[in-house]
Subunit: 345 residues, 3 copies
């Protein structure tokens, strides 16, 4: 944490217009409900105005719309949430690690390691791997042979990158993330499954975040590709030969089946499932818990079975299994109605 | 395993009323179908009475209802399942580990470690971490800087606790569990996502179990909180700033989105998904594979699309996309019927 | 990679009939779209004939049906996909590892380790564990006390096998796989949950593959059993006392609840969920994202709520909650229609 900073010092770095005491000092960001006077909060939605009235924060980031809603020292900006993100980073910079290889790390002599990289105890770097400047390899993390990590990557403890995978700059791999395990590919051989060697790689662009216990499988022949700026939450599964376009964000527990192509700037909700071999257009939004079974043009798509009290669900679900018959029965009624009306003429 | 114990020795420790040979010795618990005469079994449901008749077990735990259904030596108790749980623990106590730090463990000199704790080879304890009495840190497990573990916690191999997280007494973290990875929080910056530093912690109460590969993310500003006695199965995802009330149990593969508040004594089925920012009342039960999209009062809720043979599903699912039109068509028929009846007057 | 091999050398080993230049040399398998002339591709589906016409590959594996569709050197076989799988393995044999125990590995003195096994830095082998010939234990992997691994098993970095679990020959456990964590079993004790010791094991047959971050829990009393040739993708959860029959394949993110019995030769789609205590017949196919709530005879089963544009979904989903009433309304209309027709006689 860099603070304390005055509001005028903050505005000098991040822009915005200070209203009220420009010398107010803050040391940390806070939440409306729990902030102390040394913390700065933000408000971006009208429904939190009541919380704003009650906050004990020392300063507020807000839009011109809400500027008159508080007497606290404040910074006015068109996008308070983005401003808050930048300010939070300013007050909480990514920690710099002392360069060097811990004596209990396992680095293959043929690996190429930037002098500014930090390798913690129990971390492994395989043969001919290339590790960029200021990379941090946490305890027990693993970088396989021939893999490459760009500058400023961070691998949290137990994160694993398999042999030959390529990771751009500033990637963050959280604990338990696995990049490059074998794709699930088998040919039937009588009753048995004959494994197809998965010789493709995983290639991650720059600024990709991979959440805890998320898995990205290597391609069968060609690569699995995650483009720049993709953000993956925890426990996501990306199958072999998937391609995900730049700046797409995917929430936790989602699964993308093999060879699916996801466009740029998509937003995919938690626990959504995408079938293999389909294409999702740029800018598509998929709701949580939705199974997508065919290719999509841009738009927002949802497929959640509406929950209900258990007894009501039982009654309604029983009808789901009769829907095709039900619509036929309505057709019969309509047809008879038309005959009747025709007869009445 | 402590056995052998006689039924009277067991009843002396755990209560219950012995019927038949009180000197019958047992060494282990067993299942009705496979137990030998040195094993003790239980029966709690009528549908297993046939299995009881055939069992080769040496003794049985059962309720007064079933007392006359066997001639085996038996212990009669009102809650045979709970009795069995206690007896199984009596015969299978949690192993005690020899205190000490393995020479291949990595403990920061500033960490505070109880003398009775055990740290296995390849485990890491960060700066200023505090580790309680009798804690077991399995091979390759990780406790970050400033984290705290209460007495009698057990971290299985590769379990990870990030910096600053607080864990109460008697917690069990299975392999691959990740406590404290960054929450999934970003602000849009043009087309790019700007990460919001996640500076909150995860705080676990006492007696919390965390299954293998379950992830609990740290809060954005305030903490993610798991209260006493919460039991989490494998592969669950708990997002940032979630709060889970005491003694709530969640089955595998469930996901709880950010800032959801789950009450006490809830039971959430496997693969259930809870939307963010909603409140689930104390004592609520949610069925497996159910997506909950709004706040709930106590009750049992379900939302599973009923499966069917594939061809039948195809027919019925096609009608789902026409349901709004279908109900309109039924309304038209009803309206015409009413006009007709009115005309007939 | 063993290549280059000529087509006649390949056919000598794997069968098939060479058409065209039998001396064409290939060094690697490739994809139709990206192969160079040193790569061999396959085609098994008519829809890729256009890609075949454009490929720059050096040779093709295909069925007699497509034999005349290219002038490239080719190998004709009845099952091109299976042939391709075998050829890919021939060109990409499983790497052999130099036998030995890394000085930074942690092997208990009482463990029994084949001389041909390889144990990497940071891997752990517990007391009395038995490790077969040519087993590879990757960096940071873990084999608990009394566990057994058959010949030719491979544990990727961070894979974990708990105490006492039994694994057959040629198993592959990818990174983050956890075999043998405690099943989720508790008895209610007032408001609290009383853990039931999970004393069963996990027993894996031969030729079982376990994907990255997949979890297989140990049995409560009896064992959790995975038979020969079962293939498990990433992030699958198998609960305690499940039994999975030989050669069943399960795609990523699926979950199988406790004591379910899955037959042989089943195929279970990604994110499918199987309820506990049910039986799935041999040869059953379950579609992705389908929740199975009762026992099944052989067949193909599906239960996906059909997604739609969000607005359409909102309209249709609202009717789902009225289905039981809707079918009653249709019954009333039908009854009145019948009365009317009866009156008209």
């Amino acid at each position: 944490m860099r603070g304390p900073l005055t509001l005028s010092e903050i505005a000098a770095q991040l822009g915005g217009r200070v209203v009220g005491d420009a010398d107010r000092k803050v040391v940390q960001v806070g939440s409306l409900g729990r902030a102390s006077e040394k913390q700065v909060v933000f408000i971006a939605q009208r429904r939190y105005l009541g919380d704003l009235a009650r906050t004990r924060a020392g300063a507020v980031i807000l839009s011109p719309d809400f500027e008159a809603q508080t007497t606290l020292p404040r910074i006015v900006t068109d996008d308070p949430y983005l401003y808050f993100a930048r300010l939070a980073r300013l007050l909480n910079p990514i920690p710099t690690r002392e360069p060097g290889v811990d004596s209990a790390a396992h680095v293959h002599p043929s690996a190429s390691l930037a002098a500014s990289a930090r390798v913690e105890a129990g971390a492994t770097v395989g043969a001919n791997a290339r590790i960029g400047e200021r990379v941090w390899l946490g305890a027990g993390s693993y970088v396989g042979a021939d893999a490459q990590l760009g500058d400023d990557c961070r691998l949290y403890p137990t994160a694993v990158v398999y042999d030959g995978c390529i990771i751009g700059e500033r990637a963050v791999l959280h604990a338990g993330a696995v990049v490059g395990a074998d794709g699930f590919g088998y040919a039937k051989d009588g009753e048995r499954w004959n494994a197809i060697p998965q010789i493709g790689r995983v290639v991650l662009g720059n600024d990709v975040d991979v959440g805890a216990n998320t898995t990205i499988d290597r391609g069968t022949i060609d690569d699995t590709v995650i483009e720049d700026g993709v953000k993956l939450d925890d426990q996501i599964h990306i199958a072999h030969n998937v391609r995900i376009g730049a700046n797409t964000a995917i929430a936790a527990c989602a699964g993308i089946a093999g060879s699916a192509v996801i466009g740029r700037n998509c937003e995919i909700g938690g626990a959504a499932m995408i079938r293999g071999h389909i294409r999702i257009a740029d800018g598509t939004r998929i709701s949580p818990a939705t199974a997508i079974t065919r290719s999509l043009r841009a738009g927002t798509y949802t497929g959640i079975f509406p929950f209900d009290k258990h007894a009501a669900w039982l009654s309604n679900a029983a009808v789901v299994r009769q829907l095709a018959k039900l619509i036929d029965r309505v057709r019969v009624l309509e047809k008879k109605r038309l005959q009747k009306e025709s007869n009445s003429d």
